[in-house]
């Protein structure tokens, strides 16, 4: 009888550990290597694309295209390599809020500098 109870306690303890592990595994979405391979290849293709585009004569669109491609690449890295696509809402919100603050600060600073000498160039 005492032995049975001991066994039960032991089993319960093991079950708890399994639950912990299950919770951990459930929490961690394991991204398969196939996705990493696709993402890595896409990034290399975009790199070739941006170098090629910089040799075209496109006027103001040269930097716009270069920055657009850079933004696409950065987004892919953040979503897949950095797992944000598979992360909790907290992480998504943190990244989003940070990006928003960053763009606001840069946007406001640039708006000031670019309009300060308006009409005097």
């Amino acid at each position: 009888m005492a032995k049975d109870m001991q066994m039960n306690a032991h089993q319960e303890h093991e079950n708890e550990q399994d639950d912990d592990r299950a919770a951990l595994e459930e929490h961690r979405h394991v991204v398969p290597p196939r996705i990493y391979l696709i993402v890595g290849t896409t990034l290399l293709i975009f790199t070739a694309l941006t170098v090629w585009a910089s040799y075209l004569e496109l006027g103001v669109f040269n930097p716009i295209i270069a920055l657009f491609i850079a933004c696409v690449k950065a987004t892919i890295v953040v979503l897949f390599f950095m797992h944000v696509k598979y992360s909790t809402k907290l992480t998504k919100l943190t990244v989003g809020a940070g990006l928003f603050t960053f763009l606001t600060l840069i946007g406001m600073t640039l708006a000031d500098y670019f309009t300060r000498a308006w009409g005097r160039w």
Binding site: R28, A70, F114
Partner: protein, 222 residues
């Protein structure tokens, strides 16, 4: 346990956001000066070697891929795979720094490092620099605009230097991780350290993804 994992990932992201704000200051300074002294920035950019720059971008992206695979190996408890991925990432990081130091060497030789020995010769008299001249046929810049190339190179060294410093720190941590991984530390289900280091490494990659077009690809058509 889930909460702890959440908390460390959250903290890592907060740290990365402070890093983004820090680099953001440099990027903003760059955008303002580029807007003011555009011809100087074009001439300065032509001094950078596009082959080295593109190669380095490819090296860094590949290292991000091997790092991501390292995280996967840790998650699926593959010790050998993890060691291989960490070593490859470290190797590619060192290749990046090696190429960067070759590029810095070229700048030092041509006296394009801002300071007392800075030389305007390549910009006031582009034909004196035949290697660059035969590719882009730059017109000579007036002296006051040529002087502003020093600002371009100042920003170039500040931004790539700060990026390289992050790479050096990353490589140092990778060396530590290789030893820890060899002892089996990350293949027991505790992958937080590997995962958060992965976030750092990918962040450094993202900085380069923006530095490359901004510094190297300003205006490549002749």
């Amino acid at each position: 346990m889930g909460q702890q994992v959440d908390a460390t990932g959250f903290a890592m992201w907060l740290f990365l956001l402070t890093e983004i704000m820090f680099f953001g200051g440099l990027f903003t300074a760059y955008l303002i000066y580029r807007n003011w002294y555009y011809p100087a920035f074009v001439a300065g950019s032509h001094q950078l070697d596009i082959i080295w720059g593109t190669a380095n971008t490819a090296v860094l992206i590949t290292s991000s891929f091997t790092m991501a695979m390292g995280v996967w190996c840790a998650e699926t408890r593959r010790k050998g795979g993890l060691l291989l991925c960490l070593c490859l990432t470290l190797f590619l990081g060192l290749v990046f720094l090696g190429i960067k130091s070759i590029e810095y060497g070229e700048k030092i030789e041509k006296h394009h490092v801002p300071g007392f020995h800075y030389s305007l010769k390549s910009f006031t008299d582009p034909e004196s620099d035949p290697q660059i001249y035969k590719m882009y046929h730059d017109k000579p810049l007036p002296l006051d605009m040529a002087r502003h190339t020093e600002m371009y190179f100042g920003l170039y060294f500040a931004m790539t230097g700060m990026h390289a410093l992050h790479m050096i720190i990353g490589c140092a941590i990778l060396v530590y991780m290789v030893f820890r991984a060899q002892a089996g530390a990350y293949t027991t289900g505790h992958v937080t350290f590997v995962e958060n280091f992965g976030l750092y490494w990918h962040f450094v990659d993202i900085i380069w993804i923006f530095l490359f077009p901004l510094l190297y690809l300003i205006s490549r058509h002749g």
